[in-house]
């Protein structure tokens, strides 16, 4: 028989549980009592006032291969067996996780080998999170008893526990144990509650000085005063618990609870303060909030802010990144950066220095750290990072957020320990702050706020690039193109904000008079707003883009800002583009195409199609929450583009194929139908006037390939 005894903290459930165990033991039963309360005093009265080792301390201090069930089970009064789950100090860690870990370990160590006739779980009932609900699971307690006094908050907790039971098999409630405080009218309140929820009161434990005396001796009343009415009461209760029936309770709404127990109507909701601002990550409450699309629209979060922030930080050379997380979060983030480095090396033959140097540290939160808190681990990791460099970012994960580790306070303390260091907290709490893109935005904002030197004077000819994707494979290619154009204008790149940059460049951000946007996606637009509004940065209107039209536009704008003559340069670019078009036009003129794009900015693509003399039969942009870049819809050709926000992709594809295009251009392959020539629109297109021509070259080749390739003839 397995019995759970729940009740509000301090209501006396441990004293009652221990006396029930003693009474059952006196009947010759082998009773196991498991205390599920971080204060670990459930079984004290069965152990002459001694405390057994707690399971959580044991987990923390013992190697797995050295563990034995009997190390955590103490022998108590009358052959009873005593286990205490234990848990963290108040204010840190996650006590609920401690209960989960305790039950996992007891199962793993083979608790059934104890061959208990009765198992009693003494559980703290104030907190009704999943951890404290473990004994309610169908595999554990067969009967559940609720201890309450007549105080309203004790009854409120009792009602909450009944609500919790309804998430499992509800037909398991043995009844209410009324632990009297000796107050007037409390019996009426408990009876009113019991009647309302449809449960019996199985025992009324009177207030008695014998409890205090037993406490003094470190023993139960049953052991100390065997021939008393109070002990008889526990014997009757024990018998009833073993033999009595179970019922299903009907927990009350908060309104009904107040009305039935207190006899008053529940007051209405309090008015909230108006003009409350959102709390931005690690920033003053009054600061503007820069959000990703998923966060802004309350969409499914794609990826997590932790990873976005970590990958962004890892891309900054000279910055140490401390990940306050389990190893899994660190691995999932680091592999993203390492995969980018591998791709860059294997495909482009280049290395990404920031992704190669050892610049990351993980606190490796494990089960004990999640129960007891991981402040110490975080301090240790920051010290290690500080021994390498004085520029440190600290990013928090879901577990850190859920257990409530105060990362900001730890960073504050460590900043005092390392006064020359700049330690930047990024409280992402995994995906609590948002999706991957939100993490990227947060990291950029935080690093800018903490690192940019505001006192630097602009240096002529310097340009920042804002909105670079840290893991895009074509970063170096694009930057190389940009450098070549800037070189022809007598200018150079000051800071690549933020992919492929270093701490010194970010600190010297203000040496550039003007910043150019790497593209028009939401991330870049957010950064632009932030830099304009909060750092007084001059940002150009025309972004870097693919195609001749866009390239000419940003070159002209930059030239005007810098007072540079570029007509000759523009003429050269135009000539290069038109020369490149000639052979391609011969191959592709008169062909037809359809577009199904996740990118919203496809002006450059339509320009190319027009310039090649290809007939555009349909251009569709599908709006997707997982396309985190969320570009602006292009302006010049918007009349020719259908923007679909609500669609069935198969229908969209079939409708396009019905138009029989020679080429289907899409962000991803959209059909496995034979004979369809599908060409991809890159996720992050190369910039420059000639970049689209490279794509067109591949279209021409793909059209020369056999309509149906031989490999398709094979069955799956």
């Amino acid at each position: 028989m397995r019995i759970a005894i729940y009740g509000k903290g301090g209501i006396g459930k441990s004293t009652i549980s221990a006396n029930i165990t003693a009474a059952m033991s006196a009947r010759g039963l082998k009773v196991l009592q498991i205390g599920c309360d971080p204060k670990h005093d459930s079984t004290r009265l069965l152990l002459d006032g001694r405390e057994p080792p707690t399971v959580m301390d044991y987990i923390r201090n013992t190697r797995k291969e050295d563990m034995s069930l009997f190390d955590v089970v103490a022998q108590g009064y009358g052959r009873s067996m005593c286990v205490e789950a234990g848990g963290p100090e108040p204010g840190v860690g996650c006590a609920g996780r401690g209960i989960l870990s305790t039950f996992d370990l007891l199962d793993e160590l083979g608790m059934e080998r104890l061959e208990a006739d009765v198992t009693i779980y003494d559980v703290l009932g104030d907190v009704v999170c999943g951890g404290f609900a473990v004994p309610l699971r169908n595999d554990y307690a067969e009967k559940v008893f609720i201890v309450t006094s007549g105080e309203f908050m004790a009854i409120y907790a009792a009602n909450n526990i009944l609500r919790g039971v309804r998430n499992y098999d509800p037909l398991r409630i043995g009844g209410i144990i009324f632990n009297s405080r000796g107050e007037e009218e409390e019996r009426d309140r408990v009876h009113a509650f019991a009647t309302a929820v449809g449960l019996p009161i199985v025992a009324e434990i009177p207030r008695s000085p014998l409890f205090l005396e037993g406490e003094r001796r470190g023993k139960t009343v049953v052991e100390t005063f065997p021939a008393t009415e109070l002990t008889d009461c526990f014997h009757r209760l024990a018998a009833m618990m073993l033999e009595g029936d179970v019922s299903e309770a009907e927990p009350l709404s908060d309104e009904d609870l107040e009305r039935i127990v207190l006899g008053k109507e529940k007051a209405g909701k309090a008015e909230v303060m108006v003009n409350a601002t959102k709390v931005a990550n690690g920033r003053p409450r009054s600061a503007p909030v820069y959000t990703s699309r998923n966060v802004d629209r309350h969409e499914v979060l794609h990826g997590c802010a932790f990873t976005g922030a970590v990958v962004t930080c890892l891309s900054v050379q000279g910055l140490q990144t401390v990940m306050h997380s389990p190893d899994s979060c660190a691995h999932l983030s680091c592999q993203m950066a390492q995969n980018a480095a591998r791709r860059a090396y294997l495909r482009e033959g280049i290395s990404i220095p920031s992704f190669l140097e050892p610049s990351s540290h993980c606190t490796s939160m494990d089960d004990p750290a999640m129960v007891f808190g991981a402040k110490g681990l975080l301090e240790e990791a920051i010290r290690k990072a500080a021994s390498v460099s004085g520029r440190i970012a600290v990013v928090s994960s879901c577990p850190s957020g859920i257990i409530g580790d105060d990362v900001v306070e730890t960073v504050r303390r460590m900043s005092a320990e390392f006064p020359d260091a700049k330690i930047v907290p990024m409280i992402e709490d995994g995906n609590a702050a948002g999706d991957h893109m939100q993490g990227v935005i947060d990291a950029c904002v935080a690093l800018a706020d903490h690192l940019i030197d505001q006192d630097l004077a602009p240096v002529k000819g310097m340009v920042n690039v804002v909105g670079i994707k840290p893991i895009a494979t074509n970063n170096e290619r694009n930057m190389s193109f940009l450098a070549s154009i800037l070189g022809r204008m007598g200018m150079s790149v000051n800071c690549r904000f933020i992919g492929g940059t270093d701490v010194t460049s970010i600190e010297g951000f203000k040496k550039a008079k003007v910043s150019i946007l790497a593209n028009t996606d939401r991330f870049t637009r957010m950064l632009a707003s932030f830099l304009i509004d909060e750092h007084g940065v001059k940002v150009m209107e025309r972004p870097l883009t693919a195609g001749i039209v866009g390239t000419e536009a940003w070159v002209r704008e930059l030239a005007a800002l810098g007072g540079v003559e570029v007509e000759r340069l523009l003429a050269e670019l135009g000539t290069e583009y038109r020369t490149g078009l000639i052979p391609l036009r011969k191959e592709l003129e008169g062909r037809s195409a359809c577009i199904i794009s996740m990118h919203k900015d496809i002006d450059w693509l339509i320009d190319l199609i027009d310039d090649l003399g290809i007939e555009l039969r349909r251009a569709v942009v599908v709006d997707r929450s997982d396309h985190l870049m969320d570009y602006h819809v292009g302006n010049r050709h918007s009349q020719r583009i259908e923007l679909l926000e609500d669609y069935v992709i198969d229908y969209v594809v079939n409708e396009s194929l019905r138009l029989s295009p020679d080429i289907l251009l899409s962000t991803y392959p959209v059909t496995d139908r034979e004979g369809v020539v599908q060409e991809r629109i890159p996720m992050v297109p190369d910039i420059g006037h000639l970049a689209p021509l490279e794509m067109a070259r591949h279209w021409a080749l793909a059209l020369k390939a056999p309509r149906v390739e031989g490999w398709r003839e094979e069955d799956d």
């Binding site: 499914v300 594809v653 962000t667």
Partner: protein, 416 residues
């Protein structure tokens, strides 16, 4: 960058993904889903990220690892309703097995899965945060074995289970095939390789084999004990580690045959022929360049793989280790360390990036990083992601062809 490498969460998910016809469903945020799902897709050749073609609610653009896409509200209120919908979605796809796992964050809120049906279901409510890949892998394998409860019965003649192979291993499918062929040549049949695409039916029959055989022992000692306790199945592990390299492969085959009373000579003949073929090529290299003797290498991997590679590159080819990083503990880790001391390399570095070497042997990311920094000129990838992503030819990591692959790739770029 210090990447901790794949750990318990990835190990568990990849173990679950290693059962034919199974669906692994995660209660957790998409941040914990995308990479393991993409690894599972890549390693089992079951498609790749394509939001246009895998556009369903729980799969989010991928063909594997549907999840409940938890957000901050779910951490407070729980995610039971969505988990139930995901369970129903998985159930309706009629898989052979459903595996349920919590993300580290989800495990903190303590929701019980508590689903039951006639489709066997394995669960892992705690993903063992910050545990090793092997620990996660083996815990998941045991969860499946306990859910499927293999049949009990008389041990069948010369039959074995191969333990410790994961679909996350480079060339796992070809490795299994290579090892099965070698054993078959000796009259030994492989019944099941739990976690390496065995079917539910094969797992059901795994309780009646005559011997359990470790391939990667850091991942299977608990599993072997479980079979022993439950079915009385004896267990064999080779002290030389995984069957890779002529001597370790020979020791592995001989050990199995000895315990089963089988004749190892057909497999030993195949090994001898391959060894002779290798000798010709190595002789040529030796005579032209005085290599591979004295060439240096750096090595990173799990101990059961590192030990036989270390012995092969050093003892067989005469190359010298300058950096060795064992990514986990386990029975082979001590043996590898002892071997290093024995050959006078006990002080070898563990940092592959800072030790110039002629050859790096490691996972593809580490190998690419070492190549990119100029710390090595040649690489053999032994863990994903690979240095190549297309493998039409058989390309086993283990076994006889695995040994030839290791030799081919190690010698390929050696120059003096």
């Amino acid at each position: 960058m210090t990447d901790l490498g794949p750990e318990g969460l990835v190990g568990s998910i990849m173990a679950f993904e290693g059962f034919k016809g199974s669906i692994t469903a995660m209660n957790g945020p998409t941040g914990c889903k995308y990479y393991p799902a993409s690894l599972a897709e890549a390693m089992t050749r079951r498609g790749g990220f394509n939001p246009m073609m895998h556009d369903s609610r729980f799969y989010l653009g991928q063909s594997r690892l549907p999840c409940t896409y938890m957000d901050s509200n779910d951490y407070v209120s729980g995610c039971k309703a969505r988990m139930t919908e995901l369970w129903n979605d998985s159930f309706n796809r009629n898989p052979s097995l459903i595996c349920l796992i919590n993300s580290p964050g989800a495990s903190l809120i303590g929701e019980e899965f508590g689903f039951s049906s006639d489709i066997p279901t394995a669960t892992m409510e705690s993903p063992l945060p910050s545990s090793s890949f092997s620990e996660g892998y083996e815990t998941a394998i045991l969860a499946v074995l306990q859910a499927l409860r293999p049949d009990d019965g008389e041990h069948e003649g010369k039959t074995v289970n191969l333990l410790g192979i994961s679909v996350a291993d480079t060339g796992w499918e070809d490795s299994v095939e290579d090892l099965c062929k070698l054993l078959f040549s000796c009259g030994v049949k492989v019944t099941c390789a739990p976690g390496a695409d065995s079917s539910v039916e094969e797992v059901k029959r795994s309780g009646t084999v005559a011997l359990n055989v470790a391939v990667h022992d850091e991942r299977c000692l608990r599993t072997a004990r479980w079979y022993e306790d439950t079915y009385g199945t004896p267990f064999f592990r080779s002290p030389q580690g995984a069957p890779l390299g002529f001597a370790p492969l020979r020791a592995w085959v001989e050990g199995i045959c000895e315990r089963l009373g089988a004749d190892p000579s057909p497999a030993l003949t195949l090994i001898k022929e391959a060894r002779s073929r290798a000798r010709k090529e190595i002789t040529r290299l030796d005579q032209y360049h005085g290599l591979p003797r004295g060439a240096s290498f750096s090595l990173q991997g799990r101990p059961s793989l590192t030990l036989p590679i270390l012995k092969t590159l050093n003892g067989y080819l005469g190359m010298v280790p300058v950096a060795v990083n064992l990514t986990e503990g386990g029975p082979c880790a001590d043996a590898a360390e002892d071997y290093l001391k024995e050959i006078g390399c006990g002080e070898a570095s563990t940092d592959l990036l800072s030790c110039p070497a002629d050859l790096v042997v490691a996972d593809g990311n580490t190998a690419a990083n070492v190549l990119a920094t100029g710390s090595a000129f040649n690489a053999v990838d032994i863990d994903p992601p690979g240095l190549v992503s297309v493998n039409i030819r058989r390309d086993p990591l283990l076994g006889l062809d695995g040994t030839l692959r290791l030799l081919d790739r190690s010698l390929q770029g050696l120059r003096r």
